[in-house]
Symmetry: C3
């Protein structure tokens, strides 16, 4: 009754451009689908009830290492590459009422980032190079997932409507303070997402808030829509991240939007997106263009290639293409960066 | 021939009380049964012999992280949350003679702590909040498990008698010294346990010693008994921890005892315990009361709730209820603490 | 379609001798076969093509911890004992053309070290106590495996000829410098291996190079041969490690050779080797003698014992026998060391 599942995806990646100090070549994980190893199972409890668990670990299969998680939604737990079930680690009770899920899980507002991105937020073309830039720049640990969470999911029989809510805890003492701030609620997350999927249409909106006293809290709202015309599926998303106080780059707001498509061509799919991001103080102001082809060798295995170009117009903190861009060094000047992935993805 | 097994148990926990600086809310793992993921298997070698392995990792499923172990029984190996087979990691050869087991395994004297505690040493009601307080306060790494161990277990056909012995090694150089002490034997563990289980009765006694030169060694002895009357199973245990020299709190001895019960009621069980602990110098002097109900949804899945109250009468180093108590801060004053867990446990 | 596999091997080990400050006893992992836990699978893609993945984690089953890997082939990633798939972490595409393999895998030149060593480079008798001494002494991370690698393997139908090539990347920026060196290529690995196996004969040669600017690169070349006479299989290997500049011990070259045998005797095998190593500046100059017996309880399970003696004639940096030798302290004087393992190995 236990299912062992996963993805091992590796790609040769090259990143260059004037926004970088140099260029870099390397092998990266998950440029088409994030590599992972997981264990999950369900138990029928009778009367429409069932229990289930889901343990899913991120995998840096270029080196065999695992990924960090956060115990308190405030700081990263540096595992030095030891395997953790950072992607999802939950126990659930589900029935006609929906599902109650406890543990570490996706923050509701991340789903629109990834579902309405033709690149699924991975590889050089990931929309999240820009859409979680304000959160990332300020060390927010909950842009993608939250630990210590209690989640509720609507049941699946609502005529296409779906939705979820999450409350997650930072687990601080009620009298915690730091730097003159009441930090007792730091790392607490509240969020929800509601959508409608029917035939070719899928549309969803979400909102989440993470308490961080020194930044007067981090808020993220977005909306996404996709429509499948058969010859091509079109998608769009609009995202806003906000802090109540100026963060690391003096910015309080990040606005991003994306237009994308996924078109079946031959034995695979063409995927493309245009993505624009802007901090309210122009520290980040970037356009990203990405184009890829996924050649399916089977339902489980694919070869793929992706090219992305980022054009920065901001004053600093440039957006760059791809996981290896950090290795090549941010130049600190306005400029562009380019990246491509050539990879093999295998799902099991 | 490999079995994948585990427990994913998550609970909402709240801890408060005058012995704490504040209160705290959070999600904790394993408040009914410690969360874990394991792999085990056996091979029939013929002639009554069999070989087996057991790899069992602790799981902080509230954040997806793993747990620390100790390579040398002297210091904790901080894995930063990377998964380790800290719970058990052994290879065995078994036959009519009993079983030889090599690797990391439970220190024999821990078994009475957990088997004769209606709360199984987990959650806010765990007897070990107090029974391994002297060991924990002095950084003893072997109160629960020992690495580098060679274990022997009596065969199962002795008319109800059972027993085991363990020798574990700290792996120091024969000429190791530190702070003027001969530390060559630090981390060496010797221990044994013997018991008798027949019908409603189970009784066992154990003793273990861990060499730590600066503390003139750590010794633990205990005895436990349970008797199942059908409508209720009663249990009791008596524990003593000793150091040869005053430890971190000036104490050399910790005495604890417990009275507990487990009664099937409706589709579940009521569990309750009264637990008293005392350092010889009164630095810890605490009474713990715990009450819980486990509602079985199936043999593998349960909802549960536990409430515990600790009343401290000592001079410092107060005992507190629950895994999150540390987050709420120890007050350093004599006082009480309360905790409750509301959780879901799923076994696979 | 996923196979769970592994080895749990534990041995009591004792190491002593004049080349050590003291002696030491302990429990070690993998003295007959390295302990591991792995997940692998293949998928038939039709037309002779198949895809596969392989995730294999090293296991310190004496304490339950995992092992370190390296993200960039230049520095060790200290996982604090968290599990990593450090042994192998690859995704592959194979067909009539051979196999393309991406991820972390064995450096080609390691294969001759282990295949032509009767002790398979593990336990007190491991030839690699000496054969990768120059690489180890200079912190080379790629003596055994390389991360970020692209490998190619010849197909299996070449009449006994086999071969492989690897290119691995250090993932540095093209303008990276450190200490006056151009370090842009540090951690890049190129290597290949070619061999011929037919009937009783197996012979192979390999070469690999790891770019490390400050040491003017690390190079390793070796050749190994084995011939199975039936009553005994004989083997020999010759290894050379080279740096372009004097390393940590002022040495630029290490030459090692080995003569070994593996003879089926009774229900098991006698294994023996003689191994000689020499740094060009005599900092290491050692002879190692090793003798063991592996008693097979089944195809998967064995009891074993190994004894090794190392005689150092160098000026410093002595070679010592066994994984625990480090715990016993290197004496810094010319001398000998002895070690033995008594263990149980179980494969699943």
């Amino acid at each position: 009754s236990v299912t062992l599942f996963g993805v091992v995806d590796a790609a040769y990646e090259h990143v260059s451009g004037s926004a970088l100090a140099g260029s870099v070549n390397g092998l990266v994980q998950g440029a088409n689908s994030s590599s992972r190893l997981g264990f999950r199972g369900t138990e029928d409890l009778g009367g429409g009830l069932n229990a289930g668990f889901w343990l899913e670990a991120g995998l840096n299969n270029d080196s065999g290492s695992g990924a960090n998680t956060s115990a308190n939604n405030q700081t990263s737990q540096n595992s030095g590459g030891g395997l953790t079930f950072n992607r999802r680690s939950t126990v659930s009770l589900a029935g006609n009422f929906g599902e109650i899920r406890l543990g570490r899980d996706y923050t509701p507002s991340f789903w629109n980032d990834t579902i309405f991105d033709p690149f699924g937020t991975v590889g050089v073309g990931a929309a999240t190079n820009a859409t979680i830039a304000l959160g990332g720049a300020n060390g927010i640990q909950t842009t993608v997932r939250s630990s210590n969470s209690i989640g509720y999911f609507l049941p699946g029989n609502l005529g296409g409507f779906y939705g979820q809510a999450m409350y997650a805890m930072g687990e601080n003492s009620s009298n915690a303070t730091a730097g003159g701030f009441d930090t007792s609620k730091n790392g607490n997350v509240m969020g929800g997402r509601i959508g409608y999927a029917n035939g070719p249409l899928n549309v969803a909106a979400s909102y989440s808030q993470t308490k961080i006293a020194a930044l007067d809290n981090y808020k993220k709202a977005n909306i996404g829509v996709s429509y499948d015309l058969g010859v091509v599926a079109l998608m769009a998303q609009y995202n806003q991240e906000k802090l109540g106080a100026p963060g690391a780059f003096g910015a309080e707001k990040n606005t991003t939007w994306l237009l994308g498509l996924n078109a079946p061509v031959g034995p695979g799919n063409i995927v493309a997106s245009y993505n624009r991001a802007k901090f309210d103080n122009n520290a980040v102001k970037a356009d990203q263009y990405a184009l890829g082809y996924v050649y399916n060798l089977s339902k489980r295995t694919a070869l793929y290639g992706t090219y992305a170009h980022v054009k920065n117009n901001g004053t600093s903190a440039n957006v760059t293409a791809g996981a290896l861009a950090g290795n090549a060094g941010a130049s600190g000047v306005i400029g562009s960066s380019n990246g491509f992935d050539l990879g093999l993805r295998h799902t099991f």
